[in-house]
C-alpha cells in the first residue's frame, strides 16, 4: 500500500482552496460582551424597542446558562469577552443601489469563491441575499419575488419593514433560552435572512444566501427565519466558505422554520467553512441551532446538509412534527478530515397523528477526525401512527479517525413503528482492486465509492448544489484511502 500512502499524503497536504482574506477595513465594536454591547448592536441596526427588549431578555438568560459539554468534541474554553460582536464592511453608510456600486473588492471575493454574484444569480435564476460579515450588501431578484408576494430580505430590513411578522414568529421555534448558543445568538445576532411565503404561493425560484465570515475575531451570529404560510412551498439554499485564519472563529447561528397547514419548506445547506490546517490549527467553531416546526396539518420540512468544513461542528437540524400527517426529513453527509470534529444529527419530535420522519445520515471520517451522529426520535403519547426510519452509516478512512453513533429513541405510543439501522465500514481493498483492475485510477475509484456512499443524500439536493457538493466532497477526501 506504499503508493497509496504517498497518494494520501499528497492529497492530505492539499491546502484549503478558499483561504484568502479580503482587505476591507471593518468597522466594528471592540471585543467584549455586556448589556451595553447588546444595546449598541440594537441601536446600530436602528431596531424598534421590542427587539432591544427581546435581545436583553435573551442576554440575561444567557448569563445564567452554562456552556454544554456533552458533545463528543474537544476544544479550549471560549472566552466570550475576547470576541467582537459586531463588524460591518466600511461602505455600509452609503449602501449601494445596485451591484455595480458594490465595493469591487467584495465582488472580487465572490469571484474567488467561484460564484460571481450577479451572473450566478441571473444564470441560475437564483435570488441571492449575500451576507458579507454582518450586513447585507446586495439583494437581487427582489422584483420578481415581490410580484409573487414573497418577502425575502435581510433580517434587519424585516425588523424595520415587517415588524409584525418578526414579532409573531421570532423565537417561537427556538426560544431564547433553548440552549446556551441560541441564547447568545438571540442577544447579539447581527443579521441574517427573513423569508415569508404567503398563502398558497409556490416560491417562483430557489432562494439562496451565501454566508461568509470575513473580519478576524468576529463572531458571526446569523439569524434566519422562514415562514411558509398555508399551502405554500419554498426551497432555500444556504452555502458558505470562509477565509483562512489561524484564530478560531465562533459561529453560533439560529435558523427557525415555520410551516403552516399544507406548507412545505426544503432547506439545503452546503457548509464549507475553514476547517483548520492539517495540524488542527485554526478553523471555525460552528455551534448552530436549526429547528423547523411543522405547525399545520400535512406540512413538510426537509433538511438536507453537506457538511465538509469547520474545525468543530455542533449542529442538529430538527423537526417538531406538531400537525397531523406532517412529515420531517433529514438527509446529511458529514465529512471530517485532518483534526476536524463533527457532532451532528437531528431530532424528530412526533406530536401529531400519522406523522412520519426519515433520517439518512452518512458520516465520513479521515485523518485524525472525529465524526459523531447524535439523533433523537421521540414519539409522544398522542402521536398515534407515528413512523420513523433512521439509517446512519459511517465510512472510516485511515486508522486515526473515529466514527460514533448516539441515537436516542424515546417511544411513548404503542402504534409507533420505529426502525433504526447503523453500519460502519471502510473502503475495502476488494472494492478498490475491482475498480483498479478495470483501469480506474485509485483516486477516481475512491471518489466513485464515496459518492456512491453519499448518493442517497445528494439526490435530495437541488441540482446546482448537488454538483457543488460532489466537487467539494472530492476535494475534501481525494485519495485518503485506508
Amino acid at each position: 500500500m506504499s503508493t497509496e500512502s504517498e497518494n494520501i499524503e499528497e492529497l492530505v497536504n492539499r491546502r484549503y482552496a478558499h483561504g484568502f482574506v479580503t482587505d476591507i477595513a471593518s468597522e466594528g465594536l471592540p471585543p467584549g460582551l455586556n448589556e451595553d454591547v447588546v444595546r449598541a448592536i440594537s441601536a446600530l441596526k436602528e431596531e424598534p424597542e421590542f427587539m432591544l427588549e427581546w435581545r436583553l431578555r435573551a442576554y440575561r438568560q444567557w448569563l445564567e446558562m452554562v456552556e454544554p459539554e456533552w458533545a463528543h468534541v474537544h476544544y479550549p474554553r471560549i472566552d466570550y469577552n475576547s470576541i467582537s460582536y459586531y463588524s460591518a464592511p466600511k461602505s455600509d453608510k452609503d449602501r449601494p443601489k445596485s451591484l455595480d456600486e458594490v465595493d469591487p473588492k467584495l465582488l472580487e471575493t465572490y469571484d474567488k469563491l467561484g460564484i460571481p454574484l450577479h451572473e450566478r444569480a441571473r444564470l441560475a435564476g437564483v435570488a441571492v441575499d449575500a451576507v458579507f460579515d454582518s450586513v447585507s450588501v446586495a439583494t437581487t431578484f427582489k422584483k420578481k419575488l415581490s410580484e409573487a408576494g414573497v418577502i425575502f430580505c435581510s433580517f434587519s430590513e424585516a425588523v424595520k419593514n415587517h415588524p409584525e411578522l418578526v414579532r409573531k414568529y421570532l423565537g417561537t421555534v427556538v426560544p431564547q433560552r433553548d440552549n446556551f448558543f441560541a441564547a447568545l445568538n438571540s442577544a447579539v445576532f447581527s443579521d441574517g435572512s427573513f423569508v415569508y411565503i404567503p398563502k398558497g404561493v409556490r416560491c417562483p425560484m430557489e432562494l439562496s444566501t451565501y454566508f461568509r465570515i470575513n473580519a478576524a475575531n468576529t463572531g458571526q451570529f446569523e439569524r434566519t427565519l422562514i415562514v411558509a404560510d398555508e399551502g405554500s412551498h419554498v426551497s432555500y439554499l444556504e452555502g458558505c466558505t470562509a477565509p483562512m485564519r489561524d484564530e478560531n472563529q465562533l459561529h453560533a447561528a439560529v435558523v427557525e422554520l415555520v410551516a403552516l397547514k399544507d406548507a412545505e419548506i426544503k432547506y439545503s445547506t452546503v457548509q464549507n467553512w475553514y476547517p483548520g490546517d492539517e495540524n488542527g490549527v485554526g478553523g471555525i467553531y460552528n455551534f448552530v441551532t436549526k429547528r423547523g416546526d411543522c405547525r399545520g396539518a400535512n406540512s413538510k420540512i426537509s433538511w438536507t446538509q453537506v457538511e465538509t468544513g469547520s474545525a468543530i461542528t455542533w449542529k442538529y437540524p430538527s423537526c417538531i412534527l406538531r400537525g397531523n400527517n406532517s412529515v420531517g426529513e433529514f438527509y446529511s453527509v458529514a465529512v471530517a478530515n485532518n483534526y476536524q470534529q463533527a457532532d451532528t444529527g437531528t431530532k424528530m419530535i412526533h406530536i401529531g397523528r400519522n406523522t412520519r420522519s426519515t433520517i439518512v445520515s452518512k458520516g465520513i471520517s479521515a485523518g485524525h477526525a472525529q465524526n459523531a451522529y447524535r439523533g433523537l426520535v421521540r414519539v409522544m403519547p398522542q402521536a398515534q401512527g407515528a413512523r420513523n426510519h433512521t439509517q446512519c452509516d459511517s465510512l472510516l478512512i485511515g486508522k486515526e479517525c473515529g466514527a460514533h453513533t448516539f441515537p436516542y429513541m424515546e417511544i411513548k405510543n404503542p402504534s409507533a413503528r420505529i426502525e433504526h439501522e447503523a453500519t460502519t465500514s471502510k473502503i475495502s481493498a476488494d472494492q478498490l482492486f475491482y475498480c483498479r483492475q478495470r483501469g480506474i485510477s485509485e483516486e477516481d475509484a475512491v471518489n466513485m465509492i464515496v459518492n456512491g456512499f453519499c448518493k442517497e443524500v445528494f439526490n435530495e439536493l437541488p441540482m446546482e448544489f448537488a454538483v457543488e457538493a460532489q466537487a467539494l466532497l472530492n476535494v475534501s477526501l481525494e485519495g485518503a484511502v485506508g
Binding site: 456533552w70 403519547p381 459511517s394 472510516l396 478512512i397 485511515g398 486508522k399 486515526e400 479517525c401 473515529g402 466514527a403 460514533h404 453513533t405 448516539f406 441515537p407 436516542y408 429513541m409 424515546e410 417511544i411 411513548k412 405510543n413 404503542p414 402504534s415 409507533a416 413503528r417 420505529i418 426502525e419 433504526h420 439501522e421 447503523a422 453500519t423 460502519t424 465500514s425 471502510k426 485506508g482
Partner: protein, 424 residues
C-alpha cells in the same frame, strides 16, 4: 427533579458498625468515595431514563432500621432449586448460606473470600455495595472442572415487615482452558420494600469458555441494581443470556472488556415488563484488541403502564482491527402507557471493523395477524402466537440448553398474564 435526601452520616456509621475483618479498610474507603459522589441521578447520562428515588428511600430507611435479617423463605428456595438443576451456592440476604451451598465443594471449584485486590470498580453503586458488603465470595474454576450440571448462584432475599437492602458481591475466575456453565438466579419474597445491589465480576483466562444464564424473577415490590463486569482474554468465549421477568425497578449493567485476540462475546436478553415495572438494561463492550467478535440481541415485550430502557454501547478502541460488533434491540409495545427508551451506541476509533446495530419498536405485524386470521385463528390466539414467537427467538438461543424448557414456561406464564389483562 429532586431526589430524596440520603443521610451520608448514617451510611458512614453503618459501615463503622460492621464487624472488623480483612475488608474493613476497603469498606471505609468505598464509603468515603460513595459519599463524595452520591447516588447517580437522571442528570447523569447513564441514568437519564432511570430514576433511583425509590432505591434511595429504601437504602435510607434500611440504614435506620437495624433489625436482624428475616428468616429465609425456604419454600421459595426449594422451589427455585427444583426448577433449575444445578450445584447451588445460595447467598441469602447478602450472606453465603453454607448448608445450602454444595456448589462451593465440588471438584474443580475453589471458593474463598474476596481480597482487597479483587474489589476495584469505579462506579458509585459498586462503592455502595462494597461499603455495606458483609460477605464476599470468590470462586476459582479450574480446567478440571467438568460437572454434570451447571454451577448455580442463587441470590435470595426475604423481607418481613421492615424495609431492607442487601449488598452481594461475587468474583468468578475461569482458569486457562476451563469450561464452565453458570446459572445466576435472583428471587425474593416478602411484603416490605427491598433493594438488592449485586456486583459480579467474571474473568475468563486464555481459552476459557463460559455459558452464563441470568434469571431475575423478584417480587414486584422489590428493586435491584446488578452489575456484571467481564474480562475476556485471548481465545476465550462467553455466551450470556439474561432474563428479566420480575422486580419493580431493575437495572442491569453488563460490561464486557475484550482484552485478548479472538475472544467472542455473545449475549442475548429478554425483558417482559408489565404494569408498574421498570427494566433498564445497559450493556457496554470494550473492544480493546482485535480481531474479536461481539454480538448482542435484546428483545422486550412491554405491557401496562411500564417503562423499559435499553442502552447498548460498543466501543472499538484504537488498534482493535478486525472487530466485528453487532447489536440488535427489538421491542413490542402492547399498551398505550408503555414506554421504551432505546439507545444503541457505537464509538469507533479503528478502521478495519465491521459494526452494525439495529433497533425496532412496534406492534405485532398487521399482515402476520391477517395471515393467521385468514386461516381461521382467532385474534387473541393469533396475537398470542406472534408474541410467543417474538420471545422464543431469545429463549431458544439462550445458553444452558436444559433450562430452555423452564424458561419457556416462565415466559409463557408472563405472556398469559398480559393476554388476560388485554382481554379484560
Amino acid at each position: 427533579m429532586s431526589e430524596p435526601a440520603f443521610n451520608h452520616e448514617a451510611l458512614l456509621q453503618a459501615v463503622r458498625d460492621l464487624p472488623v475483618d480483612s475488608l474493613t479498610a476497603s469498606r471505609r474507603d468505598a464509603a468515603n468515595l460513595f459519599v463524595a459522589r452520591g447516588f447517580p441521578t437522571v442528570r447523569d447520562e447513564d441514568w437519564k431514563y432511570t430514576d433511583l428515588s425509590n432505591v434511595i428511600e429504601i437504602s435510607q430507611q434500611s440504614l435506620q432500621v437495624a433489625s436482624a435479617p428475616a428468616a429465609i423463605d425456604e419454600d421459595l428456595l426449594r422451589q427455585t432449586q427444583a426448577n433449575l438443576d444445578a450445584h447451588w451456592i445460595v447467598i441469602a440476604n447478602g450472606k453465603v448460606l453454607e448448608q445450602h451451598s454444595p456448589g462451593t465443594n465440588i471438584p474443580g471449584v475453589q471458593s474463598g473470600s474476596l481480597q482487597k485486590t479483587d474489589l476495584a470498580i469505579d462506579e458509585p453503586l459498586a462503592d455502595l455495595n462494597l461499603a455495606l458488603l458483609r460477605d464476599g465470595l470468590k470462586l476459582d474454576i479450574c480446567a478440571e472442572f467438568a460437572p454434570d450440571k451447571p454451577l448455580g448462584l442463587l441470590f435470595i432475599d426475604t423481607v418481613e415487615n421492615a424495609v431492607a437492602s442487601t449488598h452481594a458481591r461475587v468474583n468468578i475466575s475461569l482458569e486457562r482452558n476451563a469450561n464452565a456453565r453458570i446459572v445466576e438466579a435472583h428471587v425474593s419474597s416478602g411484603p416490605a420494600q427491598h433493594y438488592s445491589n449485586c456486583v459480579l465480576h467474571l474473568d475468563l483466562a486464555e481459552g476459557a469458555v463460559c455459558e452464563y444464564l441470568r434469571l431475575q424473577d423478584r417480587a414486584t415490590n422489590h428493586s435491584q441494581t446488578a452489575r456484571l463486569n467481564v474480562s475476556l482474554k485471548r481465545d476465550s468465549s462467553l455466551h450470556h443470556g439474561s432474563f428479566d421477568l420480575g422486580g419493580r425497578l431493575t437495572r442491569n449493567d453488563l460490561n464486557v472488556a475484550i482484552q485478548g485476540r479472538n475472544a467472542t462475546a455473545r449475549f442475548n436478553g429478554l425483558y417482559i415488563v408489565a404494569d408498574g415495572q421498570h427494566v433498564d438494561n445497559h450493556t457496554k463492550v470494550d473492544h480493546l484488541v482485535g480481531p474479536a467478535i461481539s454480538q448482542q440481541e435484546y428483545r422486550g415485550v412491554l405491557s401496562g403502564h411500564c417503562r423499559a430502557v435499553w442502552n447498548g454501547k460498543a466501543i472499538v478502541h484504537k488498534g482493535a482491527d478486525g472487530t466485528d460488533a453487532t447489536q440488535a434491540n427489538h421491542n413490542l409495545l402492547l399498551s398505550d402507557a408503555a414506554e421504551i427508551d432505546a439507545k444503541p451506541e457505537l464509538e469507533i476509533d479503528a478502521d478495519d471493523v465491521k459494526c452494525a446495530h439495529g433497533t425496532t419498536v412496534g406492534q405485532l405485524d398487521e399482515r402476520a395477524l391477517f395471515y393467521l386470521r385468514a386461516r381461521g385463528i382467532s385474534k387473541p390466539d393469533a396475537k398470542r402466537i406472534l408474541t410467543r414467537a417474538f420471545a422464543a427467538t431469545i429463549v431458544n438461543t439462550s445458553p444452558i440448553s436444559e433450562a430452555h424448557e423452564f424458561l419457556g414456561g416462565q415466559v409463557e406464564e408472563r405472556l398469559r398474564t398480559i393476554d388476560d389483562g388485554r382481554q379484560s
